[in-house]
Each structure stands twice: as structure tokens, then as C-alpha cells.
């Protein structure tokens, strides 16, 4: 399966990359995706996540072709 993973703002700088595409098998949830891109670390509590541009939770399911995004609390307005 193929999952596009995107990072924004301070998390983007921390990860040192804007996005990447995971080709790994066995990714069932957003949490699995995070572990795959962060050497198995748990998702930091304050980090928000989205699947296909809708807000999601670490338990949200992911499917082949999905876009998963991770980012810090939003500060617009």
C-alpha cells in the first residue's frame, strides 16, 4: 500500500521534510503511520492529524492511497 504523509509548521521543521510516501504494508491506523515515519515513537499528545484533509484520531483507519497529515495546534485568525 501507498500512503502520502505530510508535515506542517514546527513539526515539518522537526521532521526535516515536507512530505514522504510510505510504501510499507500493514499500516492500519494513523498511529501506525506515525510509528512508521518516526522510528516507532508514540504520537506526541499535542500533535493533530488528518486523513484526506479531514481531522482524524490516532485510531482512525487508513487505506491505500490516503493522504495522512501531522501538524501542531493551529494558530490562525
Amino acid at each position: 500500500m501507498s500512503i502520502r504523509v505530510r508535515y506542517f509548521a514546527s513539526l515539518r521543521e522537526k521532521m526535516g521534510r515536507v512530505e514522504e510516501t510510505l510504501a510499507a504494508e500493514g499500516l492500519e491506523t494513523v498511529s501506525d503511520v506515525w510509528k512508521a515515519v518516526s522510528e516507532g515513537r508514540p504520537l506526541p499528545e499535542q500533535i493533530l492529524c488528518a486523513v484526506n484533509m479531514d481531522y482524524a484520531t490516532p485510531e482512525s483507519l487508513v487505506a491505500d492511497g490516503d493522504e495522512v497529515a501531522f501538524f501542531p495546534p493551529v494558530t490562525g485568525g
Binding site: A9, P72, P73, V74
Partner: protein
């Protein structure tokens, strides 16, 4: 209902005027217009801020803003709404966000306008990075908006 992201400076009063005029006949039933304009301050948390960069998530930001407007529309009776938000580089005094709600009733206009701003600040994917004299920093969180200093 209009939601726009702007990569360059905008003049909020001219935007409001233009939008208001464009409503043509509807204007006559929209007796109440509540607006909010947020501009960049030249200080934050005690520090002088000389510049700011507004990052967003193209696609998701527009989608979330549109969803916020639709939720407000289901909850309050209003005739039209305008949301404009800057992205990119912003300087002190520059408008960042403009929200306007046209309604027949002032309570609905006020409540929907405030709801749009609070939801925008808590849900729309924007991130501010401030340039200070001594470097840069990300703004870490927005202040809650329903409690006032009153």
C-alpha cells in the same frame, strides 16, 4: 458564502464594501452586518514582532473553512457570509483575517460572526511563525475567545 485565502495584502473595508454591493437586492433584507477584522500586532508575549509567516495546508484549509461556514449556516439564519484569510508573509498592521455575516437579525449576525472566528481559530489549519529581533518562533497556541477581559 465566500471563503478566500489571499497570498497578498488586502484592504478589509474595501472588501466588505465590494461584497456588500455585490449582494444587490438581498442587501435590503440584510439589516444586520457583524464583522471581525484581525490585524497583525507588532508585539506578542512581550516581544517586538517585525514580521510573520502564515503557513497553511492547501486544500484542507479551504475545506475546513467551508465546513465551518456550513455548520454556522445550519445553526443561525443568515443571508451571506464572507471569510478572507491571509497566507504567506505578513507585516505589522496588515489584516490577517476578515469575517462578515449578513443577516436580517442582529443576534444571528453577532453570534454567527463570533462562531466563525472561534471555529476558524481552533480548527482551520493555519500556523503563524513570528520573526523577532533575535530570530524566529512558532506561535504555540491560540487564546480561547469566548471569555473576555470584561
Amino acid at each position: 458564502m465566500t471563503v478566500e485565502l489571499r497570498p497578498t495584502p488586502f484592504e478589509p473595508f474595501a472588501e466588505l464594501s465590494r461584497f456588500h454591493e455585490s449582494m444587490a437586492e438581498q442587501r435590503r433584507s440584510a439589516g444586520a452586518l457583524a464583522t471581525f477584522i484581525g490585524t497583525m500586532r507588532d508585539f506578542n508575549e512581550g516581544d517586538t514582532v517585525t514580521r510573520m509567516t502564515l503557513e497553511h495546508y492547501p486544500g484542507m484549509t479551504e475545506r475546513q473553512l467551508a465546513a465551518i461556514v456550513e455548520t454556522a449556516r445550519a445553526r443561525w439564519q443568515f443571508i451571506d457570509a464572507l471569510v478572507i484569510h491571509r497566507v504567506g508573509e505578513v507585516w505589522p498592521g496588515d489584516p490577517i483575517v476578515l469575517v462578515g455575516v449578513w443577516s436580517s437579525h442582529r443576534a444571528a449576525a453577532f453570534d454567527a460572526c463570533r462562531y466563525l472566528m472561534e471555529e476558524l481559530k481552533s480548527r482551520a489549519p493555519f500556523w503563524k511563525k513570528e520573526t523577532l529581533g533575535a530570530g524566529e518562533r512558532w506561535v504555540s497556541c491560540n487564546t480561547p475567545g469566548y471569555s473576555s477581559c470584561g
